[in-house]
């Protein structure tokens, strides 16, 4: 356990040998001026104290012997208590940490960031380690209490009972964490009682030795990681059962072993074993010994039994283990004195130890590679890589696929750029997405040449040997349970008369081209997913058929649209069948997700459409792993929070989901579970990584070979990077090492077998693709793993953080200077994972890691063309729609026609005399009230429903549920910056599309403010530029035409109205009801305290904690920075603060809040000069006034409590006139005061 270095062992010896007789030592001489001498002596004195304390508490087990502890920072229990606990239990304590190596353990509950770095290589443990160790009566492994090195929620591998377990550390920081542990403690840290904790805590345990524990812990201690041993002991405990708690019965139950024990040298012979175990078990032994001193004599025997048992059982364990495992079993080492060392930490046993009885891995490899044929196929062949990549089937497939895909992409891109413009569907309309997929593509195509096998189970694989992998199987074969990616051996077991067909790449390619040509002939946006799979957006086609614009709900037209979709799909299937002779299936849905899900139902050889009304049912009944992008890892996480079916997600809040899965995935799943998928067909993903992996044939005899191989692999990586015209900045090396329990020869010839995978990455200063640089870095990383070359089974190199390559292609001339990139990164989307990885163990993994196109949320592309706005008759009626329509006429029309009219871009409102037609001068000439009336008339009566875009190019209605993507031209800009930069950013951009450059748009009320978190939206300026024509109230053109002052007035007014409509959260101030909670029946009589009156809360969200309130106040100020707060809000805050001061009786909180507000307001005043030159002085004044009123409210509240005014609410006002206070009232009739007689005594004392 402890591997003390020289310094700490020296220190330990010194401290252990430290004795204290009396105060005659040199250290008690007087020192003057010599600080270092003083300090040295002080330390000796401190050790003297400790020595005394230690000797006075000899009854405690000396569990901390050899530990030199130092406490850093605030801990709970306190420094003193820890000190005492450690010293009284045989440890040493360092008050001053002169150098870190002196201490063996540093105790801290939390470290500053700097110290985290500084102490990273030291044992930093939590105080609980001490407390728990004392309670357990033995030194617990410090690993479980480590402070450093555990990220929050990071999974940690544990080594438990011979199994590698993974657990999550959910450590909270801060003292709360310690509270839970201390809650049941004894009086270890009760300050009212001077610390006598150790005795308290221990008295009971040391007097009543529990042999059961003893046995268990000792055995565990001595055997450490000997997994077999613990397993074997287990049953024994099981049989003797609970009586173990009682020493006598244990002795009895131990008797049957006595017989055998007698043969074994007992008692005295154990020391060698003890000597061999590590320090940790030694200290445990010492506990055992010290405990036994006070225990009844038969305990001693039990102790022996324990040791004997452990020894005796070992061979048994080994044998059984050997039976169950192959010959490379490590438990042969159970008796190896070195083995306890292996238990340390959780890393798998060192390879070296397991090699001894056998050949080492290197020797084994050498023997294996002695066969020249094998040698040639392994990596030692210099031509290996070339061969490997030319022969690797998967490599071929993936390369070919990538090629095909980029071709297709170009094709579709060329087509869809025009398509998109033409078929740009109005946002929020119904969509019809096809997901077209071949049914068992390879098998089906290969079967074309063997029509006689059509109904037989057929698979495609590269051979019929048991070691070949099934690439594709047809449906008859699937009935037998055969799956893609299965071993032939297994498949043949399931289905003995399985027919195996070879690959026919030529045919596949042909079929694929035919497939795509059929798809491209359809009028829609196409996105190729893979060679046999594509997504098509046929919305435009279907909507045309439906007749309406796709938004209006009209049963008839919806049905027509759906029928059309079905028809198109049918047609497509027929066409492909004709062309290729193979069946395809089509899934139809409202988005990519639904299409994919529908495809599952459609297969084989069918089509299925998910209708909007059945979306939730359909999706809800899937298991979560059926969703694209979800496989076992996310699935397992979801299972942890109780989700198995998609519908289970419905009952989970979005927050919970995001906290369990991370913000992106959580959000995505939440949407998916409701059938929402925002991905658009045709979105492409930029390639993020390039890698080269080899995990077949990797066998090395020495390090040199491994490093040579890495060099050639980095050459390959370089070639690939070049082919993609990129270079990268981060290099990741993936090493597969033979798993400890895997045989030296894996089932697949020269395959990798069962492996542990290690990754390490390095960020290079400059993006590069130079093979020598990559090779050098990779080799140094490989060395840092410290894995013996014989154990290597796979090596991969991956480049991420890619940058496009500039200039010469050789990658050697990286320039540090940034160059503006005009080239669009239009890399074809590729799978992140290199498909070369021959990952046979977990075929699912690919699915899990592949970023599903649907998973990548992107914004709708904003491409508009002017053609849209021409009033062509594109809408499928034979009538030309007039540009100005009388609304009353429209109202009479049937729904379909109406929506068509709306969709055609005709502005209904303009049917009233268009505002620009107003005579400006005439308007000006009017008296204000009449002008007002006129303006009011031109104002629409209510905001139009969001589904009718008044002007399509201007305001796409914000997507429901967030992504307030208002600035269309820049979809990724977050809302906040959009607002701030309205002036600079969006004016020119908008100006392009519209001939109205002065107007910009921004959403006035935040689109996603459903939670009411924003106190309100505000507009930052009166200036028209900042104003927003997204606000449907006022016609922008009209506004533009008005003279400045009138315009301002108008805007001001409309905004006020708007604000009123969106009521603030503030006025919904509420008093929560007193809730009576039913109490559980107490077994012990307890007092039921009358419930505290509930704390007053602020706003509808019932804020009551200080940080929440501060945040709310800041937000409030931010929103109304320029115009000042509303009086109601100020009033509400006043009322709340008054209640805090009077009812909650927390003046400090109220005062803190006021100061906070004051500070914010002050800040705003300060920075008004530079940043917000436009912010109005009126706003500042209003805030100042509000602040004053709030301050006064507090003062009066405090006064009501009979107290004087609060100091330092604001800058101190010393000479506040005292006449104000003459009205001050005192709190009558409540209390009486008593004073101490002792006062007299005290005066005397003082005078002494």
């Amino acid at each position: 356990m402890l591997k003390p270095n020289a310094k700490s062992s020296a220190a330990r010896k010194r401290i252990e040998n430290h004795t204290f007789e009396d105060e005659k030592g040199e250290e008690y001489e007087a020192t003057f001026g010599d600080f270092s001498k003083y300090y040295r002596r002080k330390r000796i004195k401190l050790q003297n104290l400790d020595a005394e304390l230690r000797s006075s508490s000899s009854e405690n087990p000396r569990i901390f012997r050899g530990v030199i502890a130092h406490v850093n920072g605030y801990t709970q229990p306190s420094l003193n208590d820890l000190h005492r606990l450690i010293v009284t239990h045989g440890g040493a304590f360092l008050k001053y940490l002169d150098n870190k190596t002196t201490a063996t353990h540093i105790i801290a509950s939390n470290l500053t960031l700097k110290k985290r770095v500084e102490f990273r290589n030291y044992r930093v443990v939590k105080p609980a380690w001490v407390v728990e160790s004392v309670r357990a009566g033995r030194l617990l492994p410090w690993d479980d209490f480590r402070v450093i090195g555990e990220g929050r929620n990071q999974k940690v591998l544990g080594f438990h009972n011979g199994k590698i377990t993974s657990r999550t550390t959910d450590s909270q920081f801060g003292y709360k964490e310690q509270l839970s542990k201390l809650r049941d403690d004894g009086k270890a840290s009760f300050p009212g009682h001077p610390p006598t904790p150790s005795n308290d805590l221990h008295g009971s345990e040391s007097s009543a030795v529990r042999p059961g524990d003893l046995l268990a812990s000792d055995i565990r201690g001595s055997s450490g990681g000997k997994r077999a041993l613990v397993g074997a002991i287990g049953p024994f405990y099981g049989s003797s059962g609970p009586p173990l708690a009682n020493p006598h019965s244990t002795a009895a139950s131990g008797l049957n072993d006595r017989r055998q024990l007698d043969e074994v040298p007992s008692g005295e012979d154990t020391p060698p074993l003890i000597d061999s175990v590590s320090l940790e078990s030694e200290s445990e032994l010492s506990i055992a010994e010290s405990r036994l001193e006070g225990a009844p004599p038969d305990n001693l025997e039990i102790e022996d039994v324990g040791w004997e048992l452990s020894e005796h059982n070992t061979p048994v364990a080994r044998n059984s283990d050997e039976d169950s495992q192959s010959q490379h079993n490590e438990s042969t080492k159970t008796l190896n004195p070195q083995s306890p060392k292996r238990a340390e930490g959780s890393h798998p046993p060192d390879s070296l130890t397991s090699e001894r009885p056998m050949l080492t891995a290197e020797e084994h490899n050498a023997a294996l590679l002695a066969d020249p044929r094998i040698r040639n196929t392994s990596v030692l062949n210099p031509d290996f890589l070339r061969q490997y990549y030319s022969e690797s089937r998967l490599h071929h497939l993936s390369n070919w696929k990538a090629e095909l895909k980029s071709q297709l992409q170009q094709l579709t891109a060329a087509k869809s750029s025009s398509q998109k413009a033409r078929h740009k569907c109005p946002p929020n309309s119904r969509r019809y997405i096809f997901h077209v997929d071949f049914d068992s593509f390879f098998a089906a195509v290969s079967l074309k040449n063997h029509p006689e096998l059509k109904d037989k189970p057929v698979v495609v694989a590269h051979g019929s040997g048991p070691g070949s992998e099934i690439a594709s199987c047809n449906y008859p074969a699937r009935k037998f349970g055969v799956k893609n990616g299965m071993w032939m051996k297994q498949a043949q077991r399931m289905c003995p008369d399985l027919k195996v067909l070879p690959y026919d790449f030529q045919a596949y390619e042909e079929a694929s081209h035919l497939f795509y040509s059929a798809i491209l002939s359809i009028d829609g946006v196409v996105q190729g997913v893979s060679i046999d799979e594509a997504l098509i957006d046929v919305s435009a086609l279907c909507l045309d058929a439906g007749g309406v614009n796709g938004r209006a709900v009209c049963e008839d037209s919806t049905r027509r649209e759906q029928a059309k979709a079905d028809k198109v799909a049918e047609h497509l299937r027929n066409e492909i069948r004709e062309k290729t002779g193979c069946e395809v299936s089509v899934g139809i849905g409202g988005n990519i997700l639904l299409a994919k899900v529908a495809l599952r139902k459609a297969k084989p050889a069918g089509q299925y459409q998910i209708k909007p009304e059945e979306v939730l049912d359909f999706i809800g009944n899937l298991t979560v792993q059926d969703l694209p992008g979800v496989a076992y890892s996310i699935g397992a996480k979801l299972e942890d929070i109780g989700v198995e079916f998609v519908k289970d997600i419905h009952s989970i809040s979005r927050e919970r989901l995001t906290s369990a899965l991370g913000p992106k995935t959580g959000e995505k799943l939440w949407d998916y579970s409701r059938g929402i998928d925002r991905t658009e067909v045709g979105d492409t993903v930029v390639r993020k990584s390039v890698s080269a992996d080899v995990n077949w044939g990797v066998r090395f005899e020495n390090q040199k070979q491994a490093e040579d191989f890495i060099c050639s692999l980095s050459g390959e990586l370089h070639r690939r990077l070049d082919a993609q015209k990129v270079k990268g900045r981060r290099l990741t090396v993936k090493i597969m090492r033979r798993a400890a329990d895997a045989p030296l020869d894996p089932p697949k010839h020269l395959g990798h077998g069962k492996c542990d995978v290690f990754n390490r990455s390095v960020v290079l200063g400059v993006a590069t693709s130079a093979p020598d640089v990559l090779g050098r870095e990779a080799i140094s990383m490989l060395r840092s793993f410290g894995i013996s070359p014989g154990e290597l089974r796979g090596i991969g190199m991956q480049m991420t953080k890619l940058e496009p390559l500039e200039g010469p292609r050789d990658g050697r001339t990286e320039s540090r200077q940034k160059i503006l990139q005009f080239e669009v990164k239009g890399r074809p989307k590729e799978e992140l994972e290199d498909p070369i990885v021959d990952d046979i163990e977990s075929p699912q993994r690919k699915i899990a890691q592949r970023p599903h196109p649907a998973a990548l949320t992107t914004m709708p592309k904003g491409s508009h063309s002017a053609s849209e706005q021409k009033l062509l008759n594109t809408l499928g009626t034979q009538f030309i729609i007039p540009s100005q329509i009388d609304p009353s006429v429209v109202a009479e029309l049937p729904e379909e026609i109406r929506s068509k009219i709306a969709g055609s871009g005709v502005i209904l409102r303009e049917s009233t005399p268009a505002s620009p037609q107003l005579d400006q001068e005439a308007l000006e000439a009017l008296p204000p009230d009449i002008r007002e009336e006129v303006l009011a008339f031109y104002r629409p009566r209510s905001p139009p429903p969001p589904s009718i875009p008044r002007d399509q190019t201007l305001t796409p209605p914000p997507l429901k549920g967030g992504n307030g993507n208002v600035l269309k031209s820049d979809p990724k800009k977050p809302r906040a910056s959009a607002k701030k930069n309205t002036v600079g950013l969006s004016v020119p951009k908008r100006g392009k599309g519209e001939g109205n450059p002065t107007l910009t748009q921004s959403a006035f009320i935040r689109p996603g403010s459903s939670g009411g978190k924003d106190i309100a939206g505000s507009e930052s300026d009166m200036d028209l530029r900042n104003f927003d024509d997204g606000e449907e109230d006022v016609d922008p053109e009209f506004l533009a035409a008005l003279p400045d002052d009138i315009r301002r007035e108008l805007l001001e007014e409309s905004r006020r109205e708007r604000l009123k409509r969106h009521a603030l959260g503030l006025d919904t101030y509420s008093i929560p009801h007193r809730s009576m909670t039913p109490s559980p029946p107490p077994e012990e009589r307890r007092i039921r305290l009358p419930p505290r009156p509930p704390k007053p809360t602020f706003t509808a969200q019932k804020l009551s904690t200080l940080p929440e309130l501060k945040k709310a106040i800041s937000a409030w100020h931010e929103e109304f920075r320029d115009e000042g707060p509303y009086e109601e809000d100020v009033e509400a805050l006043n009322k709340y603060l008054r209640r805090v001061a009077c009812e909650e009786r927390d003046m400090a909180k109220a005062v803190t809040l006021v100061r906070w507000l004051g500070w914010i307001v002050d800040e705003a005043q300060g920075d008004g000069n530079d940043d917000h030159e436009k912010s109005s002085p009126a706003g500042k004044d209003a805030w100042k006034r509000a602040l004053e009123s709030i301050q006064q409210a507090i003062q009066s509240a405090v006064k009501d409590r009979g107290l004087g005014e609060v100091a330092e609410l604001a800058p101190r006002r010393k000479n506040r006139s005292s006449e104000e206070k003459s009205g001050e009232e005192c709190d009558g009739a409540r209390t009486r005061l008593l004073e101490l007689v002792q006062r007299q005594r005290w005066v005397e004392t003082r005078e002494k």
């Binding site: 300050p191 009212g192 009358p1090 100091a1207 010393k1214 209390t1231 004073e1235």
Partner: protein, 277 residues
């Protein structure tokens, strides 16, 4: 461990009070700073006076307050022979103390500052239940460590408030007083058994003296506000003070304590006059 009996609460408070008194003495310069040593309480360095007399006095005081907090008052109806008061019996709850205040007097015995520890949030329980554990309402019971953390915060603010308060004149003295709840009979002042004497008029709540024997005329909660008498030295004149500095509210489960500092008018005005003149 949890603090879940009334006695525990009182213990925690008493402990805090003694630390606080020492701190106040240090921060307000009642005694020379050199007479204090630094020790660690609540994980926070605090100053304790070294003078054994002072220490004794403080510990005696705290003990007396603790006794008072745990005092049974059901003897009162017997003493006053008022059987009619039996109906009040159940109102005679255990904790009679509403507030404890550390009062700092000037040389001329004018109260200048009061550090008030408001205990009105402590639970009111029947006398026999001092050692009965509270029912735990939720999992987040009054845990000692939680209280300790909050007390630590309070202690820190108390220690730092010394810098924000205006300095005191030289030669101040101090005392500790406690305010009883309305309706509680004053303990029979018997100098041999009880260390308490009534405080000066100006620190008595107004109504108390008006109603003689202390059977409060006003009900507990109904605050009777009446204009303060012109002469400040009269009843209640020095209560409340002219300026308040909130320290902190400690609240965890059944433990509820609010602490603030009052500066009396005498101090504020006196000082401002002094500084202007």
């Amino acid at each position: 461990m949890a603090v879940n009996t009334y006695r525990d609460l009182v213990g925690v408070f008493a402990d805090f009070l003694s630390v606080a008194i020492h701190t106040i003495l240090y921060e307000r310069d009642i005694y020379p700073r050199s007479s204090f040593r630094s020790i660690r309480r609540y994980g926070f360095p605090v100053r304790f006076n070294r003078h054994p007399g002072v220490c004794d006095w403080i510990s005696d005081t705290v003990r007396a307050i603790q006794t008072e907090l745990l005092r049974f008052y059901f003897c009162i109806p017997l003493i006053s022979h008022l059987n009619a008061q039996l109906s009040r019996y159940d109102r005679l709850k255990k904790n009679s103390v509403e507030r404890v205040a550390v009062v700092i007097y000037s040389k001329a015995s004018r109260p200048l500052e009061r550090v008030v520890f408001d205990l009105s949030g402590f639970p009111t329980i029947p006398p026999s239940d001092a050692n009965t554990p509270f029912e735990e309402e939720d999992s987040d019971v009054t845990s000692l460590a939680d209280i300790m953390e909050q007390l630590r915060g309070a202690m820190r603010k108390l220690a730092f408030c010394g810098s924000s308060l205006t300095p005191l004149p030289a030669d101040c003295t101090f005392n500790v007083s406690m305010e009883l709840k309305a309706g509680i009979e004053r303990p029979q002042v018997d100098h041999t058994s009880l260390p308490w004497v009534p405080v000066r008029q100006s620190l008595q709540p107004a109504a108390a003296s008006a109603s003689g024997a202390g059977r409060a005329s006003g009900r507990d909660q109904g605050t009777v506000n009446r204009p303060r008498a012109k002469r400040k030295s009269k009843v209640g004149g020095d209560l409340g003070g002219a300026r308040t500095t909130p320290i902190r509210t400690v609240e965890s489960g059944a433990f509820m304590l609010e602490v603030w500092v009052e500066e009396s008018e005498a101090k504020v005005n006196g000082l401002s006059v002094a500084s202007s003149g």
